[in-house]
Symmetry: C2
Subunit: 382 residues, 2 copies
Amino acid sequence: MIPRGFSFSAANADIDGTSSPKNDIGLLYCNTKASLCGVFTRNRVKAAPVLIGMDLVKRGVVRAVLANSGNANACTGEAGLDDAKRLMAAVASRLKIDADEVIPLSTGVIGVRLPVDKMLSKLDTLARGLGDNVDTFARSMMTTDTFPKIASRKVGQACILGVAKGSGMIAPDMATTLAIVITDAIMERGDLERTIKDAVRTTFNAITVDGDTSTNDTLIALSSNMLHAELEGVEKAIFEVIQELSMMVVKDGEGASKVVRINVSGCDTDEEARKVGKTVGNSLLVKTALYGSDPNWGRIMAAIGYSGVDIDTGSVSIHISGHPVVERGVEAGGYKEEDVRSALEGKDIHIDISVGSGSGSFTIWTTDLTHKYVDINAEYRS
Amino acid sequence: MIPRGFSFSAANADIDGTSSPKNDIGLLYCNTKASLCGVFTRNRVKAAPVLIGMDLVKRGVVRAVLANSGNANACTGEAGLDDAKRLMAAVASRLKIDADEVIPLSTGVIGVRLPVDKMLSKLDTLARGLGDNVDTFARSMMTTDTFPKIASRKVGQACILGVAKGSGMIAPDMATTLAIVITDAIMERGDLERTIKDAVRTTFNAITVDGDTSTNDTLIALSSNMLHAELEGVEKAIFEVIQELSMMVVKDGEGASKVVRINVSGCDTDEEARKVGKTVGNSLLVKTALYGSDPNWGRIMAAIGYSGVDIDTGSVSIHISGHPVVERGVEAGGYKEEDVRSALEGKDIHIDISVGSGSGSFTIWTTDLTHKYVDINAEYRS
């Protein structure tokens, strides 16, 4: 199910120099001028493709996306910008479009120049290979990801398709990780932009794997504007696609063995609830207790307490996967520790935190912190 | 070398119920009214002994410290306050002093009531055992600590002695972990207070192991005011004792295999430099790269970028243990990756970050993040 007007291809340019057989360069092409929106990392250190993408989004029109893994083209200065522009010009010339109709997306190691010549040598393969193989394209963006992330919805005849990559350097309070949403539904660019900004707030910006915000986070949305479809339905479908992709990113969090939904309610504002949820979701002590299936609610209380939100300790209640463990700031009566331990041994954990009687609430998704996380990040240059 | 007027003892009350042979309750006694100052956790969730200690510090006079490990007496509500007060009254009656001349310090698991009767049954042993064995006392406060933390200085005839515990739930931006500094030097309470507050800012508040701020952090300072000593020298000695203790806490960070000093300079203010250093020092990706001896400076750049401080990327330079790896925001020329890798294989790493031409600077101490950290915290209820 591919939105009309779009096609994909992928190739292996050995970008990281390890001679891995994995594809690491991908091309997405639109046979008409697509409208373009995007949200980008709030990290002050912005990769070259992020700086370029932010400019292109102002223009609002795009024909192609050149994505690569194995190299983030970040902290590469002016030379990095020139490298990206050389690639954009070559893609444009190959596809007979304008250079500023090509948006680059990069992910991988920081601080190393792109092997531009290797990448240029694959452009013919990419242009010739354009077709409907979105899976191959999604895989070409993967780094430590263990599965490709693809989601789609139909609204009448129109279609919304999203692909994403992300596994480490995942934290809320950012624009997002690498993600592309495409549709053939006709919609105003303003509507598209509002829809993705709204969606990102409670999806990609509400997930955390390691608390590290990347230099390259980007979510772009493209519409080929080919089919009439009911706007509200399309907006809802775009939201659902983005939400599904963000859940896939958490699920594939580096080394993660569990996905943990943390719902915080009773705050004065949603922003305060977000802050509490983020603090609990990033706490190493909470994340390791979750890994060990230890119902150690004291670590959750401690994290709530240092979240920076002005909380009345005596009003805090905590449920772990439905079991009340804290009531009015102290241990709840009548739950069995063994029941909570069993619940924590599952793959999907829910932590519900209520901190007062306000109407502010927010939901954060996080993972446990495992030995494998340390393996991946101590022994692998990513 | 014990300051005059003070004595110590310790006993085993099996506070955590594991029948471990380790001492877990300690008594410090002063044979005269000692002046008392203290700084306490900024966590909103404050343990019962913290709430009581904050009150006692206002009074400013103390005769005894009752410290225990194995139980934090945190999130125990009114009952927890009553438990602590029962113990204070019993200690006071045993030592023939006032109940509000006894300050309680607790560390261990959160959310469990203190086994008061078990503890009361050891008070005779503690009172009879009072002597100069500060090592035994320091060990009775240990939880996941692997060694007791004791530091001392002489100033003329006067003496400054400090003991601390701390290994996990260690983060800057707090008052401190459990620490006691005692002296026999005569000094105004205002001078003592100013000295410990100044010292904590750049010592205990500048260390991080896991980014988690405890509910029980406390540093208290007691003076028996028995000997005249030169004030400036005493203040310097108190600073050095506190600094030495804080370095021991980092060194003994849970699972840590390396101590990492992060110096940040060139910011507009010291506070901004602290924020940058803290963000780098808490980054899981930086900490795992340090564990793996991987000179992956891109992760340091990314953390600088999301620290929330308004930084000009192009002005950033980074040295790792003396080797320049980043200059003006991009990879520095002329260093050998193998040299940096070798340096990172040591136990003491220095990271020097310069982010501009301002005069604000700060030094943070952190640890690497190891498999053992995950072992300790996934498999041990602390």
